[in-house]
Amino acid sequence: MSRYFTEDHEWVDVDGETATVGITEYAQSQLGDIVFVETPDEGKSFAKGDDAAVVESVKAASDVYAPVSGTVIEGNASLTDNPALVNEDPEGEGWFFKLTLADADELESLMDEAAYADFTSKL
């Protein structure tokens, strides 16, 4: 399994055709206390860059974009009642949604962990 990152601070885990998407540790630390998450419904299709989910902290609302194109298999239902899970474990239990990849080639434009660490160190 490989993990990819976007400049919009999403992470993508790829396991075969399935991609799991969430926001990074850096993103949650910037957002602060997360009070609301809206994840997409099963069956919804996204092109890369579409608005896919909403995350709101005490101070701000942000859109989460689809880092790659695909069809949603599942949204993380745990986040509805416990949005703080994104603060506690953003790159694990706090995942946002899973989708079936439409075009695996899109992954090539994303960063690996080292490149993302380098990217955030310059922000």
């Binding site: 919009d8 601070h9 999403e10 926001i23 993103a27 602060g32 206390d33 009070v35 609301f36 809206e38 909403v54 995350v55 709101e56 902290s57 005490v58 101070k59 701000a60 609302a61 942000s62 859109d63 989460v64 974009y65 509805t80 949005p83």
Partner: protein, 397 residues
């Protein structure tokens, strides 16, 4: 992620909606310059995340807005509000001169008792809200909002006669210590402050510095506001945060605390388009001033007192968990916009999304159902009495 929709003092909406910061009292054409507060290094050393607000770099949070909010409600929080304008007016007839610009009853105002008032335009619109205190020596001390202070100073200078001197205390820092344990912590450092009651102030000596301290604040909790010479501010902040009850608190929690306490924020809930009656601030216009007039906007205030304003500021509890923020529309059954949310967010003490909004008078009663539209989505809310969290002021005879 991007397209952040910020609200409250985490952004520069105050400047966008209110008065643009211009860097000098004459409103020069220079590009806005971001200034630093006397405690700038102190905030950074304590992990304060700095943002631009009201023309200054200010700490929006240290450990997190939620934790800081709850700490203040249970213990005591130290806020740096040195961006606010501290003004002293002196001169023959200063009370009458100021009464020509605002609706406070300065003739009846007791010495050392801060009074909430409003700087009004001729049409009754609110130019700023402020606290004024008559002090010994024939002076009036006024604290105005940071984002509006340069315009306020220009307004005062333009309208006050030359006999009245306006001294901008730009070498004074302003700290607020707020929360139920504020009195315990401050009494240890400045003995005697516990004798003050809510909305009383006095001079105190602290290590050779003169402090002006009033029992007042912007959180709904007991607490104090402390005017201290800038060069002594760091030592005082150190002494305060050395107390086990006290933590430094950022602007983010200041915003959520004041929202729960029904305290409007200028540039958001109040502006030149809002009037005292619509804003629910009729209490700031005293009986003698209503009867005699002689302040800008008197006619509008009297008409709205008789007939009601078209809209009123109300408190809302929003259904569900998603916050509805400043700028969201209040809509009627046909989807037409009939009002606006002016502040909103997730309330840490209430544990629900809450908001302040201007709604048509017919919808302004507690229990009224309100429909809101935000970013293409409909939200339902109910009008509730404010404050959302009961005030805990300590009043004394």
């Amino acid at each position: 992620m991007s397209r952040d929709v910020h609200n409250g003092p985490t952004d520069q909406f105050t400047q966008a909606r209110g008065t643009e910061y211009s860097g000098d009292a004459d409103g020069g054409d220079d590009a806005p310059e971001i200034l630093t507060l006397p405690l700038d290094g102190w905030h950074r050393a304590r992990g304060g995340r700095m943002v631009a607000f009201a023309g200054y770099e200010m700490p929006v949070q240290y450990e997190g807005i939620m934790a800081e909010h709850l700490w203040t409600r249970e213990h005591a929080g130290l806020f740096d509000v040195s961006h606010m304008g501290q003004l002293v007016f002196t001169g023959e007839g200063v009370e009458a001169a100021l009464e020509a610009l605002l609706p406070a009853d300065l003739q009846a105002a007791k010495l050392n008792h801060p009074v909430y008032s409003l700087l009004l335009a001729e049409n009754g619109g609110i130019l700023d809200d402020l606290m004024l205190t008559r002090r010994a020596g024939g002076e009036v001390y006024i604290v105005v909002n940071g984002a509006t202070k340069w315009d306020d100073i220009a307004h005062f200078r333009e309208h006050l006669a030359d006999e009245i001197t306006l001294n901008h205390l730009d070498e004074q820092a302003l700290l607020a210590l707020q929360g139920p344990e504020a009195v315990i912590a401050l009494e240890r450092i400045v003995p005697g402050v516990s004798a003050l009651g809510f909305m009383q102030g006095d001079w105190f000596d602290h290590k050779g510095d003169r402090l002006w301290i009033s029992r007042s604040g912007y959180t709904g909790e007991d607490g104090f506001e402390i005017s201290v010479p800038s060069e002594a501010a760091e030592a005082l902040a150190d002494a305060l945060t050395a107390q086990p009850e006290v933590k430094p608190i950022g602007l983010g929690a200041r915003d959520s605390l004041r929202l729960e306490a029904d305290l409007p924020l200028y540039g958001h809930d109040l502006d030149e388009e809002t009037t005292p009656i619509a804003a629910g601030l009729g209490f700031a216009i005293k009986k003698r001033r209503r009867e005699e007039g002689g302040f800008p906007g008197h006619e509008r205030v009297m008409i709205e007192r008789e007939q009601g304003a078209i809209v009123k500021r109300v408190g809302l509890i929003v259904e569900g968990r998603q916050p509805v923020r400043e700028g969201a529309a209040v809509v009627d059954a046909g989807g037409s916009e009939v009002g606006k949310v002016t502040s909103g967010g997730f309330a840490p003490t209430v544990q629900k999304p809450i908001a302040m909004a201007y709604v048509p008078v017919a919808l302004a009663q507690p229990g009224a159902r309100i429909t809101l539209a935000q970013r293409g989505k409909v939200h339902h809310a109910e009008v509730v009495p404010m404050p959302f969290v009961p005030h805990r002021y300590v009043r004394k005879g």
